[in-house]
Symmetry: C2
Subunit: 411 residues, 2 copies
């Protein structure tokens, strides 16, 4: 029998068995603290006898623990595993368990900088086909570089935060001049986020990059396709991606994902040596996207898997350092949209509705090309082990109507 917690709700059908122990920040009305999810509870980790420097748990954010390095990550994980599995500790630990149902989950860490990649090949081919035709779908550099751009760290929010439909400059193909308008093609992007837990100065190898990663979250990179189409040449997406990026409330530590490592696919073009992987660096994590129109039942609109990526987070991070770019504790790397090959395995509405030409039909009977006001998007993900499941918690957000335009912005 695999390892079990003495907490009944951590056994059986849960995203948070003792094998997971993901890291979050919660507030149960008594202030924001660092917590670890176990079953339907949260362990107030700073309050138990964790055996580590209390300063690591002083701020309601996991940055200090990350900065302390892999030996501390392992020590904390070993200690929590002991506390939550050995019934001898139950009386000491139980007073520090807080019901998830009564707690609000906050941003689990302070984002230093946010980089978003474009490393899913099916997504890149789909988008490229729509924008440039099937012949030129993949840019010439795509098979050699994990293409990325710097995103906006101030836009990263935790699951549950409402997302207000953005205004932006848009210009239709038949319009002479742009207009300021609420995005009419507001979309999601299903991604995983890797969190850099150790700093670097100068070039790092893929193996070193993998060791720098503290853990992973689910990530929805909300995207305004119409704003992007008008603004992105020649310097890339800017305001189209700056409204919000939602992450799951729980960081699953890399250690919890070790049993699920899988290799990136065979290379269609040889990689330069600095990008070659010394071992499997992706993870077998099943992912779904659900859409619920305001107040109505949700429909699963996409099912895919993190293993569909062409480049791993370790490869992305290694590439990120080639120029000498310093990486910092709390840097967040978005994987890029994760799409499988099947039509219902696409990680964005842009792809699912093929640019709006093939609207989806939801279980409510409504159709969607892009997001409507009131829609709630939920990303879910889990790695399935032998008798247990490693989940991330819902990565959710509801679309609110665009703000009323201030007077100075009107014609």
């Amino acid at each position: 029998m695999s390892l079990q917690s003495w907490l009944a709700s951590a056994q059986g059908d849960t995203d948070f068995p003792i094998q997971n122990l993901p890291c979050g920040v919660f507030d149960d009305g008594r202030g924001a603290r660092m917590g670890v999810a176990i079953g339907d509870m949260i362990l107030d980790v700073g309050a138990v006898d964790h055996g580590l420097d209390p300063a690591l748990f002083a701020a309601p954010a996991w940055n200090a623990v990350m900065a302390a390095g892999p030996a501390v990550w392992a020590a904390l994980r070993a200690r929590l595993t002991d506390l939550l599995s050995d019934p001898a500790h139950r009386a000491m630990v139980a007073p520090h368990l807080v019901p998830q149902a009564g707690a609000r989950l906050l941003m689990p860490f302070a984002v230093a900088e946010y980089t978003d990649f474009y490393a899913g090949k099916n997504h890149a081919v789909n988008v490229g086909t729509m924008f440039r035709g099937a012949e030129n779908a993949l840019p010439p550099n795509w098979l050699s570089i994990p293409i990325g751009y710097n995103g906006r760290a101030s836009s990263v929010v935790v699951s549950g935060t409402p997302v207000t439909r953005p205004w932006g400059q848009v210009k239709g193909p038949d319009e002479a001049l742009p207009r300021l308008a609420p995005s009419a093609r507001f979309d999601l992007e299903l991604e995983m986020g890797a969190i850099v837990g150790q700093p670097s100065q100068g070039m790092v190898s893929v193996a070193e990059a993998d060791e720098m990663i503290f853990g992973y979250v689910l990530l929805n990179d909300w995207s305004a396709r119409d704003i992007q189409a008008w603004e992105y040449q020649p310097l890339g997406p800017f305001q189209a991606k700056a409204t919000a990026t939602t992450i799951s409330p729980w960081i699953v530590m890399k250690a919890a994902l070790e049993p699920f490592r899988v290799a990136t696919p065979a290379r269609e073009r040889p990689l330069l040596p600095y990008l070659r992987e010394p071992g499997p660096m992706l993870y077998d994590i099943g992912l779904t996207v659900s859409l619920a129109p305001g107040g109505k039942a949700e429909t699963v609109i996409a099912r895919t898997n993190y293993r569909e990526m062409y480049y791993s987070a370790a490869q992305q991070l290694a590439h990120h350092t080639t120029s000498g770019c310093a990486m910092r504790v709390g840097d967040l790397l978005g994987s890029g949209t994760i799409s499988g090959t099947a039509k219902d395995a696409r990680g964005s509405l842009l792809e699912l509705s093929w640019g709006g030409k093939e609207p989806l039909t939801l279980e409510t009977g409504e159709t969607r090309s892009f997001l409507q006001d009131g829609d709630t998007l939920v990303l879910r993900g889990a790695a399935q082990g032998a008798g247990y499941r490693i989940g991330f918690g819902d990565c959710a957000g509801q679309v609110l109507p665009a703000i009323e335009l201030p007077g100075w912005a009107k014609e």
Copy 2:
């Protein structure tokens, strides 16, 4: 007679008269502290009777003062003007003056996020002509949007920090596959940086944006043109701009620049209302770029002026918020390369040597298309008032040879 300091070196030929009072961080061997330049000295501002909350001067960074808001900026400036002009304060203030010659200048503030724009029209036309031909020089959106992309805050360094030539993926037009190589087209970009001193959440007007700006620095956005050429489609510059961005050690507060406000040029295409300026938002600041081969005399290779910009920092900041993007204290906005119309008024070697086709001849007799190892670049800038000059201090950096490639990155 205009206002004068009782400090003789603050009178006459200096970048730092009493009208300037720029903000920096220095270390004279007794620890890093916040300072204000005056003549050839630095006032240890936290140590004098400034009349403000001492917590504002606790960290060696100007972020806390910025966060305190425009009323505090004005109060500090008024108090320092009084202390340094009225001889009655001399005995009290003089012990807190430190010679600039004996102090090391450090990063004046913690960069929250760094955004770089592309808002100089002559530069955009020059680069566009080289890359896309004269017919398509300006992208279709350029006259409507202050085009920008997110840069890498961790790459921002203070003047004097050496800059190591980056490695990166490059591919020549006749090569089938890319190589990892030290950049052979390493370049500067002459820019001004605007520092956001107040946060915002949601859309702000150009007038509000102007009020959020604390001050300005000189900024050199080091750029690897060969890395950029291969990587930048479709998502913009990434590693090409991540090696270093050098800023001047002194932040000139907006208040010191008020007498030098000038308007942006006439619009060639009407702007949307949210980008219209309620008054002059640029500044008349003369700028030069000098290049000194290792150990040799410097040559001024470019002379231009900040007033050459098509969009002001206030317009850029207003545009930055259209999507709802939150701005934070310490955000740094690069203006984009500042080029005049004359051939020797171009703010990058890419333009000065016309992509390497017309190498520059330096006063040493050497020629340059792009930067060579050992070259020191110095940006200088000043606004010329009636009997005084507002300067920023040198914005300098020397190019060091590329690092030796680690074994794992070799073929």
